[in-house]
Symmetry: C2
Amino acid sequence: MPIKRSALARETTTSEAETFPQGEPLPVGGRREAGKAERRRTIIKAARELIRETGNAGLSMRALAARAGVSLATPYNLFGSKRAIVVAMLQDVREFHELFSARRPTDPIDRIFTALDTAIELYLGDPPFYRTLWTAVFDAGEGVREEILGPKGDAFWRGLVDEAAAAGALREGVNPNFIGQYLDFIRRSAMFEWAVGLIPAERLAATARLGYALILAGAVTDDRRANLVAAVADAQSCLA
Amino acid sequence: MPIKRSALARETTTSEAETFPQGEPLPVGGRREAGKAERRRTIIKAARELIRETGNAGLSMRALAARAGVSLATPYNLFGSKRAIVVAMLQDVREFHELFSARRPTDPIDRIFTALDTAIELYLGDPPFYRTLWTAVFDAGEGVREEILGPKGDAFWRGLVDEAAAAGALREGVNPNFIGQYLDFIRRSAMFEWAVGLIPAERLAATARLGYALILAGAVTDDRRANLVAAVADAQSCLA
DNA sequence: CTCTTTTTGGTAACATGTTCTAAATTTCAC
DNA sequence: GTGAAATTTAGAACATGTTACCAAAAAGAG
Protein backbone atom coordinates (compact mmCIF):
# COMPACT_ATOMS: atom_id res chain seq x y z
CA MET A 1 0.00 0.00 0.00
CA PRO A 2 1.66 3.16 -1.22
CA ILE A 3 2.18 6.08 1.07
CA LYS A 4 -0.14 8.92 0.23
CA ARG A 5 1.95 11.88 -0.62
CA SER A 6 0.79 15.42 -1.06
CA ALA A 7 0.74 15.03 -4.77
CA LEU A 8 -0.50 17.66 -7.12
CA ALA A 9 0.59 20.61 -5.07
CA ARG A 10 -0.55 23.76 -6.75
CA GLU A 11 1.66 25.15 -9.42
CA THR A 12 3.39 28.35 -8.57
CA THR A 13 5.63 30.71 -10.44
CA THR A 14 8.28 33.23 -9.61
CA SER A 15 7.36 36.47 -7.98
CA GLU A 16 9.04 38.47 -10.69
CA ALA A 17 6.82 40.61 -12.85
CA GLU A 18 5.81 38.33 -15.68
CA THR A 19 2.71 38.14 -17.76
CA PHE A 20 0.84 34.98 -17.06
CA PRO A 21 -1.53 33.45 -19.55
CA GLN A 22 -5.01 32.98 -18.25
CA GLY A 23 -5.53 29.89 -16.15
CA GLU A 24 -2.23 30.03 -14.31
CA PRO A 25 -2.55 30.12 -10.53
CA LEU A 26 -1.25 33.22 -8.86
CA PRO A 27 2.47 33.26 -8.17
CA VAL A 28 2.88 32.59 -4.47
CA GLY A 29 6.21 30.83 -4.01
CA GLY A 30 9.70 31.92 -4.66
CA ARG A 31 12.25 30.58 -7.06
CA ARG A 32 11.99 27.19 -5.44
CA GLU A 33 8.36 26.70 -6.29
CA ALA A 34 9.01 28.16 -9.70
CA GLY A 35 11.60 25.51 -10.35
CA LYS A 36 9.19 22.83 -9.26
CA ALA A 37 6.51 24.11 -11.57
CA GLU A 38 8.98 24.24 -14.39
CA ARG A 39 10.05 20.69 -13.75
CA ARG A 40 6.46 19.58 -13.53
CA ARG A 41 5.78 21.11 -16.90
CA THR A 42 8.86 19.47 -18.33
CA ILE A 43 7.71 16.10 -17.08
CA ILE A 44 4.21 16.51 -18.44
CA LYS A 45 5.59 17.56 -21.78
CA ALA A 46 7.93 14.59 -21.86
CA ALA A 47 5.01 12.31 -21.01
CA ARG A 48 2.97 13.69 -23.91
CA GLU A 49 5.88 13.17 -26.28
CA LEU A 50 6.49 9.66 -25.05
CA ILE A 51 2.85 8.70 -25.49
CA ARG A 52 2.78 10.21 -28.96
CA GLU A 53 5.95 8.48 -30.05
CA THR A 54 5.77 5.10 -28.44
CA GLY A 55 2.14 4.69 -27.46
CA ASN A 56 0.73 3.47 -24.23
CA ALA A 57 3.44 0.96 -23.44
CA GLY A 58 6.23 3.47 -23.79
CA LEU A 59 5.23 5.50 -20.78
CA SER A 60 7.36 3.91 -18.13
CA MET A 61 8.63 5.97 -15.26
CA ARG A 62 12.23 5.28 -16.20
CA ALA A 63 11.69 6.31 -19.78
CA LEU A 64 9.78 9.35 -18.64
CA ALA A 65 12.51 10.45 -16.26
CA ALA A 66 15.16 9.98 -18.90
CA ARG A 67 13.15 11.88 -21.49
CA ALA A 68 12.47 14.74 -19.12
CA GLY A 69 16.12 14.87 -18.13
CA VAL A 70 15.41 14.29 -14.46
CA SER A 71 16.11 11.43 -12.15
CA LEU A 72 13.67 8.63 -11.49
CA ALA A 73 12.92 10.03 -8.06
CA THR A 74 11.89 13.47 -9.27
CA PRO A 75 8.51 12.57 -10.82
CA TYR A 76 7.63 10.88 -7.57
CA ASN A 77 8.62 13.92 -5.57
CA LEU A 78 6.61 16.22 -7.78
CA PHE A 79 3.52 14.14 -8.53
CA GLY A 80 3.53 11.21 -6.15
CA SER A 81 2.77 8.48 -8.66
CA LYS A 82 2.47 7.67 -12.30
CA ARG A 83 -1.31 7.86 -12.05
CA ALA A 84 -1.11 11.38 -10.70
CA ILE A 85 0.87 12.36 -13.78
CA VAL A 86 -1.73 10.85 -16.07
CA VAL A 87 -4.55 12.47 -14.17
CA ALA A 88 -2.77 15.80 -14.35
CA MET A 89 -2.64 15.45 -18.11
CA LEU A 90 -6.30 14.54 -18.38
CA GLN A 91 -7.35 17.36 -16.13
CA ASP A 92 -5.57 19.92 -18.22
CA VAL A 93 -8.86 21.15 -19.58
CA ARG A 94 -7.74 24.51 -20.84
CA GLU A 95 -8.22 23.45 -24.41
CA PHE A 96 -11.65 22.07 -23.69
CA HIS A 97 -12.87 25.23 -22.08
CA GLU A 98 -11.64 27.28 -24.99
CA LEU A 99 -13.52 25.08 -27.42
CA PHE A 100 -16.63 24.99 -25.30
CA SER A 101 -16.92 28.66 -24.51
CA ALA A 102 -16.62 29.40 -28.22
CA ARG A 103 -19.93 27.70 -28.90
CA ARG A 104 -21.82 27.72 -25.64
CA PRO A 105 -25.52 27.62 -26.50
CA THR A 106 -28.18 29.24 -24.38
CA ASP A 107 -30.59 26.38 -23.80
CA PRO A 108 -29.40 24.45 -20.75
CA ILE A 109 -30.14 21.04 -22.17
CA ASP A 110 -28.44 21.93 -25.42
CA ARG A 111 -25.51 23.06 -23.36
CA ILE A 112 -25.19 19.63 -21.78
CA PHE A 113 -25.07 17.94 -25.15
CA THR A 114 -22.74 20.52 -26.62
CA ALA A 115 -20.29 20.06 -23.77
CA LEU A 116 -20.39 16.34 -24.35
CA ASP A 117 -19.76 16.75 -28.06
CA THR A 118 -16.94 19.18 -27.42
CA ALA A 119 -15.15 16.85 -25.06
CA ILE A 120 -15.50 13.92 -27.39
CA GLU A 121 -14.27 15.91 -30.37
CA LEU A 122 -11.26 16.88 -28.35
CA TYR A 123 -10.52 13.28 -27.46
CA LEU A 124 -11.07 12.05 -30.97
CA GLY A 125 -8.73 14.73 -32.22
CA ASP A 126 -5.83 12.83 -30.73
CA PRO A 127 -6.96 9.27 -30.16
CA PRO A 128 -3.71 7.57 -29.20
CA PHE A 129 -3.00 10.20 -26.62
CA TYR A 130 -6.41 10.32 -24.95
CA ARG A 131 -6.94 6.63 -25.25
CA THR A 132 -3.82 6.10 -23.22
CA LEU A 133 -4.95 8.60 -20.66
CA TRP A 134 -8.41 7.12 -20.21
CA THR A 135 -7.02 3.64 -20.00
CA ALA A 136 -4.58 4.73 -17.34
CA VAL A 137 -7.36 6.38 -15.37
CA PHE A 138 -9.18 3.13 -14.94
CA ASP A 139 -6.00 1.26 -14.23
CA ALA A 140 -5.54 3.51 -11.26
CA GLY A 141 -5.16 1.76 -7.94
CA GLU A 142 -7.02 2.63 -4.82
CA GLY A 143 -6.90 6.05 -3.33
CA VAL A 144 -6.27 8.01 -6.49
CA ARG A 145 -9.47 7.35 -8.34
CA GLU A 146 -11.25 9.85 -6.17
CA GLU A 147 -9.24 12.63 -7.71
CA ILE A 148 -10.70 12.19 -11.14
CA LEU A 149 -13.83 10.21 -10.49
CA GLY A 150 -16.44 11.19 -8.00
CA PRO A 151 -18.07 14.57 -7.70
CA LYS A 152 -14.83 16.51 -7.45
CA GLY A 153 -13.49 15.53 -10.84
CA ASP A 154 -16.86 16.00 -12.48
CA ALA A 155 -17.79 19.35 -11.00
CA PHE A 156 -18.06 20.98 -14.38
CA TRP A 157 -20.53 18.42 -15.64
CA ARG A 158 -22.63 18.59 -12.54
CA GLY A 159 -22.76 22.34 -12.93
CA LEU A 160 -24.37 21.97 -16.33
CA VAL A 161 -27.14 19.89 -14.84
CA ASP A 162 -27.63 22.38 -12.04
CA GLU A 163 -28.10 25.09 -14.62
CA ALA A 164 -30.72 22.99 -16.35
CA ALA A 165 -32.50 22.48 -13.05
CA ALA A 166 -32.36 26.18 -12.29
CA ALA A 167 -33.90 26.87 -15.68
CA GLY A 168 -36.81 24.63 -14.79
CA ALA A 169 -35.96 21.98 -17.31
CA LEU A 170 -36.11 19.08 -14.86
CA ARG A 171 -39.29 17.45 -13.66
CA GLU A 172 -40.33 18.42 -10.18
CA GLY A 173 -38.95 16.10 -7.56
CA VAL A 174 -36.01 15.02 -9.66
CA ASN A 175 -32.76 15.70 -7.90
CA PRO A 176 -30.23 17.25 -10.30
CA ASN A 177 -27.33 15.79 -8.33
CA PHE A 178 -28.52 12.31 -9.17
CA ILE A 179 -29.04 13.13 -12.82
CA GLY A 180 -25.53 14.47 -12.97
CA GLN A 181 -24.20 11.31 -11.43
CA TYR A 182 -25.79 9.09 -14.05
CA LEU A 183 -24.65 11.30 -16.87
CA ASP A 184 -21.17 10.90 -15.45
CA PHE A 185 -21.66 7.14 -15.39
CA ILE A 186 -22.65 7.17 -19.04
CA ARG A 187 -19.84 9.43 -20.13
CA ARG A 188 -17.16 7.56 -18.24
CA SER A 189 -18.40 4.18 -19.38
CA ALA A 190 -18.46 5.31 -22.98
CA MET A 191 -14.97 6.77 -22.75
CA PHE A 192 -13.74 3.63 -21.08
CA GLU A 193 -15.18 1.35 -23.73
CA TRP A 194 -13.71 3.52 -26.43
CA ALA A 195 -10.35 3.52 -24.67
CA VAL A 196 -10.19 -0.25 -24.51
CA GLY A 197 -11.45 -0.69 -28.04
CA LEU A 198 -14.99 -1.91 -27.40
CA ILE A 199 -16.53 1.14 -29.07
CA PRO A 200 -15.07 2.44 -32.34
CA ALA A 201 -14.43 6.14 -32.67
CA GLU A 202 -17.29 6.62 -35.13
CA ARG A 203 -19.81 5.40 -32.59
CA LEU A 204 -18.47 7.11 -29.51
CA ALA A 205 -20.30 10.40 -29.81
CA ALA A 206 -23.64 8.83 -30.65
CA THR A 207 -23.26 6.25 -27.91
CA ALA A 208 -22.69 8.91 -25.31
CA ARG A 209 -25.43 11.13 -26.68
CA LEU A 210 -27.96 8.34 -26.67
CA GLY A 211 -27.20 7.55 -23.06
CA TYR A 212 -27.48 11.18 -22.12
CA ALA A 213 -30.77 11.49 -23.99
CA LEU A 214 -32.22 8.43 -22.30
CA ILE A 215 -31.33 9.65 -18.84
CA LEU A 216 -32.59 13.13 -19.53
CA ALA A 217 -35.77 11.87 -21.18
CA GLY A 218 -36.56 10.20 -17.89
CA ALA A 219 -35.85 13.34 -15.88
CA VAL A 220 -37.02 16.27 -17.93
CA THR A 221 -40.35 18.11 -17.81
CA ASP A 222 -43.07 16.89 -20.13
CA ASP A 223 -42.81 19.86 -22.48
CA ARG A 224 -39.16 19.10 -23.11
CA ARG A 225 -39.57 15.38 -23.32
CA ALA A 226 -40.49 15.36 -26.99
CA ASN A 227 -37.16 16.94 -27.86
CA LEU A 228 -35.27 14.29 -25.99
CA VAL A 229 -37.30 11.47 -27.44
CA ALA A 230 -36.32 12.90 -30.79
CA ALA A 231 -32.69 13.01 -29.66
CA VAL A 232 -32.96 9.33 -28.73
CA ALA A 233 -34.26 8.51 -32.18
CA ASP A 234 -31.56 10.66 -33.75
CA ALA A 235 -28.70 9.02 -31.91
CA GLN A 236 -30.14 5.59 -32.56
CA SER A 237 -30.27 6.20 -36.28
CA CYS A 238 -26.62 7.28 -36.16
CA LEU A 239 -25.78 3.95 -34.56
CA ALA A 240 -27.92 1.78 -36.81
CA MET B 1 2.75 -6.75 -24.37
CA PRO B 2 1.68 -10.07 -22.95
CA ILE B 3 1.12 -13.03 -25.20
CA LYS B 4 -2.52 -13.93 -25.48
CA ARG B 5 -2.96 -17.44 -24.25
CA SER B 6 -5.99 -19.60 -24.59
CA ALA B 7 -7.10 -18.90 -21.07
CA LEU B 8 -10.33 -20.08 -19.59
CA ALA B 9 -10.57 -23.30 -21.50
CA ARG B 10 -13.79 -25.01 -20.64
CA GLU B 11 -13.83 -27.19 -17.60
CA THR B 12 -14.11 -30.89 -18.18
CA THR B 13 -14.32 -33.90 -15.97
CA THR B 14 -13.48 -37.57 -16.17
CA SER B 15 -15.49 -39.85 -18.39
CA GLU B 16 -16.33 -42.17 -15.54
CA ALA B 17 -19.97 -42.39 -14.56
CA GLU B 18 -20.45 -39.63 -12.03
CA THR B 19 -23.40 -37.53 -11.18
CA PHE B 20 -22.75 -33.96 -12.14
CA PRO B 21 -24.53 -31.10 -10.44
CA GLN B 22 -26.34 -28.85 -12.83
CA GLY B 23 -24.21 -26.29 -14.52
CA GLU B 24 -21.18 -28.49 -15.11
CA PRO B 25 -20.13 -28.78 -18.74
CA LEU B 26 -20.33 -32.21 -20.23
CA PRO B 27 -17.31 -34.41 -19.64
CA VAL B 28 -15.39 -34.43 -22.90
CA GLY B 29 -11.74 -34.80 -21.98
CA GLY B 30 -9.90 -37.57 -20.30
CA ARG B 31 -7.99 -37.66 -17.08
CA ARG B 32 -5.74 -34.90 -18.30
CA GLU B 33 -8.50 -32.34 -18.61
CA ALA B 34 -10.01 -33.57 -15.38
CA GLY B 35 -6.78 -32.87 -13.61
CA LYS B 36 -6.67 -29.40 -15.08
CA ALA B 37 -10.20 -28.70 -13.96
CA GLU B 38 -9.37 -29.94 -10.51
CA ARG B 39 -6.31 -27.74 -10.33
CA ARG B 40 -8.31 -24.80 -11.56
CA ARG B 41 -10.81 -25.36 -8.81
CA THR B 42 -8.02 -25.63 -6.26
CA ILE B 43 -6.56 -22.35 -7.41
CA ILE B 44 -9.89 -20.55 -7.33
CA LYS B 45 -10.55 -21.86 -3.87
CA ALA B 46 -7.14 -20.76 -2.69
CA ALA B 47 -7.76 -17.33 -4.17
CA ARG B 48 -11.06 -17.03 -2.30
CA GLU B 49 -9.37 -17.99 0.94
CA LEU B 50 -6.52 -15.59 0.40
CA ILE B 51 -8.89 -12.70 -0.28
CA ARG B 52 -10.96 -13.55 2.77
CA GLU B 53 -7.95 -13.82 5.03
CA THR B 54 -5.66 -11.10 3.85
CA GLY B 55 -7.83 -8.83 1.75
CA ASN B 56 -7.11 -7.40 -1.60
CA ALA B 57 -3.41 -6.89 -1.12
CA GLY B 58 -2.80 -10.50 -0.14
CA LEU B 59 -3.68 -11.90 -3.52
CA SER B 60 -0.28 -12.07 -5.12
CA MET B 61 0.47 -14.77 -7.61
CA ARG B 62 3.27 -16.16 -5.49
CA ALA B 63 1.08 -16.34 -2.43
CA LEU B 64 -1.70 -17.85 -4.48
CA ALA B 65 0.54 -20.54 -5.94
CA ALA B 66 1.92 -21.41 -2.54
CA ARG B 67 -1.54 -21.57 -1.00
CA ALA B 68 -2.86 -23.76 -3.79
CA GLY B 69 0.15 -26.02 -3.55
CA VAL B 70 1.15 -25.50 -7.17
CA SER B 71 4.06 -23.81 -8.78
CA LEU B 72 4.01 -20.19 -9.83
CA ALA B 73 3.78 -21.16 -13.47
CA THR B 74 0.68 -23.29 -13.11
CA PRO B 75 -1.88 -20.51 -12.63
CA TYR B 76 -0.50 -18.95 -15.77
CA ASN B 77 -0.81 -22.19 -17.67
CA LEU B 78 -4.37 -22.71 -16.53
CA PHE B 79 -5.77 -19.19 -16.57
CA GLY B 80 -3.33 -17.04 -18.47
CA SER B 81 -3.17 -14.14 -16.05
CA LYS B 82 -4.13 -12.96 -12.63
CA ARG B 83 -7.00 -10.99 -14.10
CA ALA B 84 -8.41 -14.09 -15.71
CA ILE B 85 -8.49 -15.72 -12.29
CA VAL B 86 -10.36 -12.81 -10.81
CA VAL B 87 -12.76 -12.73 -13.72
CA ALA B 88 -13.37 -16.45 -13.35
CA MET B 89 -14.32 -15.87 -9.74
CA LEU B 90 -16.67 -13.06 -10.61
CA GLN B 91 -18.27 -15.04 -13.38
CA ASP B 92 -19.04 -17.96 -11.13
CA VAL B 93 -22.70 -17.03 -11.15
CA ARG B 94 -24.15 -20.29 -9.93
CA GLU B 95 -25.16 -18.77 -6.65
CA PHE B 96 -26.72 -15.82 -8.37
CA HIS B 97 -28.83 -17.92 -10.64
CA GLU B 98 -30.07 -19.98 -7.73
CA LEU B 99 -31.13 -16.86 -5.89
CA PHE B 100 -32.66 -15.29 -8.94
CA SER B 101 -34.64 -18.24 -10.20
CA ALA B 102 -36.14 -18.62 -6.73
CA ARG B 103 -37.93 -15.30 -7.07
CA ARG B 104 -38.23 -14.64 -10.78
CA PRO B 105 -41.26 -12.41 -11.29
CA THR B 106 -43.42 -12.50 -14.38
CA ASP B 107 -43.43 -8.87 -15.45
CA PRO B 108 -40.38 -8.30 -17.64
CA ILE B 109 -39.55 -4.92 -16.19
CA ASP B 110 -39.91 -6.21 -12.67
CA ARG B 111 -37.60 -9.00 -13.68
CA ILE B 112 -34.91 -6.53 -14.64
CA PHE B 113 -35.08 -4.83 -11.28
CA THR B 114 -35.27 -8.08 -9.38
CA ALA B 115 -32.16 -9.38 -11.11
CA LEU B 116 -30.37 -6.18 -10.19
CA ASP B 117 -31.43 -6.46 -6.57
CA THR B 118 -30.44 -10.10 -6.43
CA ALA B 119 -26.96 -9.43 -7.75
CA ILE B 120 -26.40 -6.56 -5.36
CA GLU B 121 -27.63 -8.55 -2.39
CA LEU B 122 -25.18 -11.25 -3.33
CA TYR B 123 -22.31 -8.78 -3.50
CA LEU B 124 -23.29 -7.09 -0.27
CA GLY B 125 -23.43 -10.46 1.41
CA ASP B 126 -19.65 -10.66 1.25
CA PRO B 127 -18.35 -7.14 0.73
CA PRO B 128 -14.60 -7.65 1.16
CA PHE B 129 -14.61 -10.48 -1.32
CA TYR B 130 -16.68 -8.88 -4.05
CA ARG B 131 -15.15 -5.49 -3.53
CA THR B 132 -11.79 -7.00 -4.27
CA LEU B 133 -13.12 -8.70 -7.34
CA TRP B 134 -14.76 -5.63 -8.77
CA THR B 135 -11.71 -3.54 -8.09
CA ALA B 136 -9.54 -6.06 -9.85
CA VAL B 137 -11.86 -6.13 -12.84
CA PHE B 138 -11.26 -2.48 -13.51
CA ASP B 139 -7.57 -2.81 -12.87
CA ALA B 140 -7.47 -5.19 -15.78
CA GLY B 141 -5.09 -4.34 -18.55
CA GLU B 142 -5.92 -4.38 -22.19
CA GLY B 143 -7.12 -7.48 -23.91
CA VAL B 144 -8.87 -9.14 -21.01
CA ARG B 145 -11.56 -6.63 -20.30
CA GLU B 146 -13.56 -7.92 -23.20
CA GLU B 147 -14.16 -11.14 -21.35
CA ILE B 148 -16.19 -9.55 -18.63
CA LEU B 149 -17.19 -6.26 -20.12
CA GLY B 150 -18.82 -5.90 -23.46
CA PRO B 151 -21.80 -7.87 -24.69
CA LYS B 152 -20.33 -11.29 -23.99
CA GLY B 153 -19.94 -10.82 -20.28
CA ASP B 154 -23.32 -9.17 -19.94
CA ALA B 155 -25.37 -11.59 -22.01
CA PHE B 156 -27.66 -12.41 -19.15
CA TRP B 157 -28.55 -8.78 -18.56
CA ARG B 158 -29.12 -8.11 -22.21
CA GLY B 159 -31.45 -11.08 -22.31
CA LEU B 160 -33.65 -9.53 -19.68
CA VAL B 161 -34.07 -6.44 -21.81
CA ASP B 162 -34.81 -8.52 -24.86
CA GLU B 163 -37.59 -10.21 -22.93
CA ALA B 164 -38.99 -6.84 -22.03
CA ALA B 165 -38.91 -5.80 -25.67
CA ALA B 166 -40.58 -9.02 -26.74
CA ALA B 167 -43.32 -8.37 -24.21
CA GLY B 168 -43.96 -5.00 -25.81
CA ALA B 169 -42.72 -3.00 -22.88
CA LEU B 170 -40.37 -0.80 -24.89
CA ARG B 171 -41.43 2.16 -26.97
CA GLU B 172 -41.52 1.54 -30.66
CA GLY B 173 -38.26 2.42 -32.34
CA VAL B 174 -36.19 1.92 -29.21
CA ASN B 175 -33.50 -0.66 -29.77
CA PRO B 176 -33.32 -3.06 -26.84
CA ASN B 177 -29.63 -3.68 -27.46
CA PHE B 178 -28.88 -0.06 -26.71
CA ILE B 179 -31.02 -0.04 -23.60
CA GLY B 180 -29.17 -3.07 -22.36
CA GLN B 181 -25.88 -1.38 -22.98
CA TYR B 182 -26.78 1.62 -20.86
CA LEU B 183 -28.15 -0.51 -18.07
CA ASP B 184 -24.79 -2.27 -18.11
CA PHE B 185 -23.06 1.09 -17.92
CA ILE B 186 -25.12 2.03 -14.89
CA ARG B 187 -24.64 -1.27 -13.13
CA ARG B 188 -20.93 -1.42 -13.73
CA SER B 189 -20.38 2.18 -12.73
CA ALA B 190 -22.33 1.70 -9.54
CA MET B 191 -20.42 -1.46 -8.68
CA PHE B 192 -17.17 0.26 -9.45
CA GLU B 193 -17.92 3.23 -7.25
CA TRP B 194 -18.97 0.93 -4.46
CA ALA B 195 -15.81 -1.11 -4.89
CA VAL B 196 -13.55 1.90 -4.57
CA GLY B 197 -15.51 3.34 -1.70
CA LEU B 198 -17.26 6.22 -3.41
CA ILE B 199 -20.70 4.76 -2.74
CA PRO B 200 -21.49 3.25 0.67
CA ALA B 201 -23.17 -0.12 0.79
CA GLU B 202 -26.47 1.32 2.01
CA ARG B 203 -26.79 3.43 -1.10
CA LEU B 204 -25.64 0.94 -3.68
CA ALA B 205 -28.96 -0.73 -4.42
CA ALA B 206 -30.91 2.51 -4.64
CA THR B 207 -28.22 4.13 -6.76
CA ALA B 208 -28.33 1.33 -9.28
CA ARG B 209 -32.13 1.16 -9.23
CA LEU B 210 -32.48 4.87 -9.81
CA GLY B 211 -30.19 4.71 -12.81
CA TYR B 212 -32.09 1.75 -14.20
CA ALA B 213 -35.38 3.51 -13.67
CA LEU B 214 -34.19 6.66 -15.41
CA ILE B 215 -32.96 4.77 -18.44
CA LEU B 216 -36.08 2.67 -18.64
CA ALA B 217 -38.37 5.64 -18.09
CA GLY B 218 -36.88 7.08 -21.24
CA ALA B 219 -37.36 3.89 -23.20
CA VAL B 220 -40.60 2.35 -22.05
CA THR B 221 -44.08 2.66 -23.55
CA ASP B 222 -46.27 5.43 -22.23
CA ASP B 223 -48.56 3.10 -20.29
CA ARG B 224 -45.61 1.78 -18.32
CA ARG B 225 -43.94 5.10 -17.84
CA ALA B 226 -45.93 6.03 -14.76
CA ASN B 227 -44.60 2.98 -12.96
CA LEU B 228 -41.05 3.93 -13.72
CA VAL B 229 -41.53 7.53 -12.78
CA ALA B 230 -42.77 6.19 -9.48
CA ALA B 231 -39.68 3.98 -9.26
CA VAL B 232 -37.52 7.04 -9.80
CA ALA B 233 -39.26 8.82 -6.96
CA ASP B 234 -38.98 5.73 -4.81
CA ALA B 235 -35.28 5.29 -5.30
CA GLN B 236 -34.70 9.00 -4.84
CA SER B 237 -36.44 8.98 -1.49
CA CYS B 238 -34.25 6.07 -0.42
CA LEU B 239 -31.21 8.17 -1.23
CA ALA B 240 -32.41 11.40 0.35
C1' DC C 1 28.70 35.69 2.61
C1' DT C 2 27.40 31.79 5.75
C1' DC C 3 24.43 28.59 7.67
C1' DT C 4 20.24 25.92 7.44
C1' DT C 5 16.56 23.75 4.97
C1' DT C 6 14.70 21.86 0.95
C1' DT C 7 15.07 19.34 -3.17
C1' DT C 8 17.28 16.69 -6.61
C1' DG C 9 20.50 13.07 -8.47
C1' DG C 10 21.91 8.67 -8.50
C1' DT C 11 21.45 4.33 -7.26
C1' DA C 12 20.06 0.32 -4.99
C1' DA C 13 16.40 -2.25 -3.47
C1' DC C 14 11.78 -4.40 -3.11
C1' DA C 15 7.37 -6.42 -4.61
C1' DT C 16 4.87 -7.85 -8.25
C1' DG C 17 3.06 -9.74 -12.78
C1' DT C 18 4.85 -12.26 -16.25
C1' DT C 19 7.80 -15.13 -19.25
C1' DC C 20 11.33 -18.57 -20.08
C1' DT C 21 14.09 -22.77 -19.73
C1' DA C 22 15.07 -27.40 -18.64
C1' DA C 23 14.08 -31.34 -16.05
C1' DA C 24 10.63 -34.30 -14.04
C1' DT C 25 6.10 -36.13 -14.16
C1' DT C 26 1.82 -37.51 -15.92
C1' DT C 27 -1.35 -38.90 -19.42
C1' DC C 28 -2.43 -40.74 -23.89
C1' DA C 29 -2.34 -43.83 -27.88
C1' DC C 30 -0.91 -47.97 -29.41
C1' DG D 1 3.80 -52.01 -21.16
C1' DT D 2 6.24 -48.52 -24.10
C1' DG D 3 7.19 -44.44 -26.49
C1' DA D 4 5.35 -39.78 -27.59
C1' DA D 5 3.04 -35.76 -26.20
C1' DA D 6 1.41 -32.64 -22.90
C1' DT D 7 1.82 -30.53 -18.35
C1' DT D 8 3.88 -29.30 -14.03
C1' DT D 9 7.70 -27.84 -11.44
C1' DA D 10 11.43 -25.14 -9.82
C1' DG D 11 13.98 -21.47 -10.42
C1' DA D 12 15.86 -17.71 -12.79
C1' DA D 13 15.01 -13.66 -15.20
C1' DC D 14 12.82 -9.32 -16.85
C1' DA D 15 10.10 -5.03 -16.70
C1' DT D 16 7.81 -2.08 -13.94
C1' DG D 17 6.01 0.99 -10.12
C1' DT D 18 7.60 2.38 -6.00
C1' DT D 19 10.42 3.45 -1.90
C1' DA D 20 14.77 4.30 0.69
C1' DC D 21 19.16 6.40 1.39
C1' DC D 22 22.75 9.59 1.04
C1' DA D 23 25.56 12.96 -1.06
C1' DA D 24 25.40 17.15 -3.84
C1' DA D 25 23.24 21.27 -5.19
C1' DA D 26 20.12 24.96 -4.81
C1' DA D 27 17.37 28.34 -2.44
C1' DG D 28 16.14 30.94 1.59
C1' DA D 29 17.24 33.57 6.01
C1' DG D 30 20.31 36.26 8.67
